[in-house]
Symmetry: C2
Subunit: 245 residues, 2 copies
């Protein structure tokens, strides 16, 4: 592996980029690249994961689907982490669905290889465990936010978390899709998005939301975004927030 090809990974997935040269070489050799379309279901609730995914330009939503058809997202995974935590925790499956929220590319690795690398108990294991804690923080904050905050604030939080994991300011997603993630009515999202647009924080066009005023969005958000962002920075040692990008 040349340093040039390592750089490719570095630019694309922060978890992979944090590996040291010696470990990176072995890990990278076990990765393959895939493109994932919007809406694609990577795995269903209760299924065993076929692969662990290290997203580069795509974003993955962890979604719960209830008996009555209601849905709610518990977390977002992008180029900051990986999909497949249950593989090395030992449960192999979870009760959530993983679905592509924003189309793009990802690296993936066979479960057997992931577990093998994890068991080497090196820097990679350390990273995976720290990422697990970061994800737990995100899920926890989602729980609290769902209970205590209004839809408009939650939409800000959600847009910020998504924005952090994308390289563009234009989020290709409908209000209907967002409503499924937030677990609220589509009209509720439309209303909240209109309010944010009126404040010139975002621009609403058919099928796309563009972030106009990033700092303004942070100010309009509940504290939940910043708590999660700080913990990601603390645990994974780099800035995910694009505030100063």
């Amino acid at each position: 592996m040349t340093s040039a090809s390592k750089k490719d990974f570095e630019q694309l997935n922060f978890l992979l980029a944090s590996l040291e040269e010696s470990e990176a070489k072995r890990v990278f050799s076990k990765l393959e690249r895939v493109s994932l379309d919007l809406g694609h279901v990577i795995y269903e609730s209760g299924e065993k994961l076929d692969y662990a995914y290290f997203p580069t330009t795509c974003i993955v939503s962890l979604l719960y689907i209830m008996e009555d058809g209601g849905t709610a997202e518990i977390g977002i995974i992008g180029n900051d982490g990986l999909l497949g935590v249950p593989l090395f925790l030992g449960g192999d499956s979870t009760s959530s669905r993983a679905v592509i929220q924003s189309a793009g590319d990802s690296y993936r690795m066979k479960p057997k290889d992931l577990v093998e690398e994890f068991k080497r108990a090196g820097r990679f294991q350390d990273l995976l465990l720290r990422y697990t804690q970061a994800l737990m923080t995100q899920i926890s904050q989602t729980a609290v936010c769902n209970r205590l905050h209004a839809v408009e604030q939650q939409l800000c939080r959600w847009l910020l978390l998504s924005h952090d994991r994308l390289i563009t300011d234009k989020l290709v997603m409908t209000h209907d899709l967002i409503s499924n993630m937030l677990g609220v009515r589509r009209e509720g999202v439309t209303l909240a998005a209109k309010k944010l647009a009126a404040k010139n924080l975002i621009k609403n066009t058919r099928g796309t939301i563009e972030v106009i005023d990033r700092q303004g969005l942070e100010d309009a958000s509940c504290e939940c975004y910043e708590i999660v962002n700080s913990e990601y920075n603390r645990l994974l040692g780099r800035g995910m927030s694009r505030t100063f990008a």
Copy 2:
């Protein structure tokens, strides 16, 4: 360590009880017993944990406290697990508070010892990782439940999770305390509790809620309880639910 003293641990904390004799001997030698009072704060948000706790008869709540004073619980830990997951995940602290929800006893272990045992990569590590996934499931389901379900159903879920972790049917807790956990008004809890009492599922007395009809409570609960319970059973390989106890 005699088998009699091992049996003491077995009866009191299921995680410790799942260890094999050889490993158990070493782990048990590093534990000390403590009594914990209702309301005692084991650690504050952002603090480093002084100890990892393996509850026996006490129950611990993981609680988030927001800027405006609003609170919401993200998970309950009892004799099924341990408090201190961030220690072996590498983050050392979390943004939640841990508070005693039901007074009782617990074993505890120094962080250094816990990490040392974790790094041996034996059955103990395996258990800790599986428990981590179980806890993640509980937190995730709390997030979904907070979004999609009514207070009465959530109260059922919460009572069941607490009941599973206690040896008595009488839960010593006020409506006010419960309202802090669920993140709702005290009056909301009173109302919901009255409805459950009217159905003869629980008995409400000053400062105590007694579970009368365990199966009825499960029927009145949202699906969230059963999902969490099943995952605990699957991941930790034994029945937590007292349905058939």
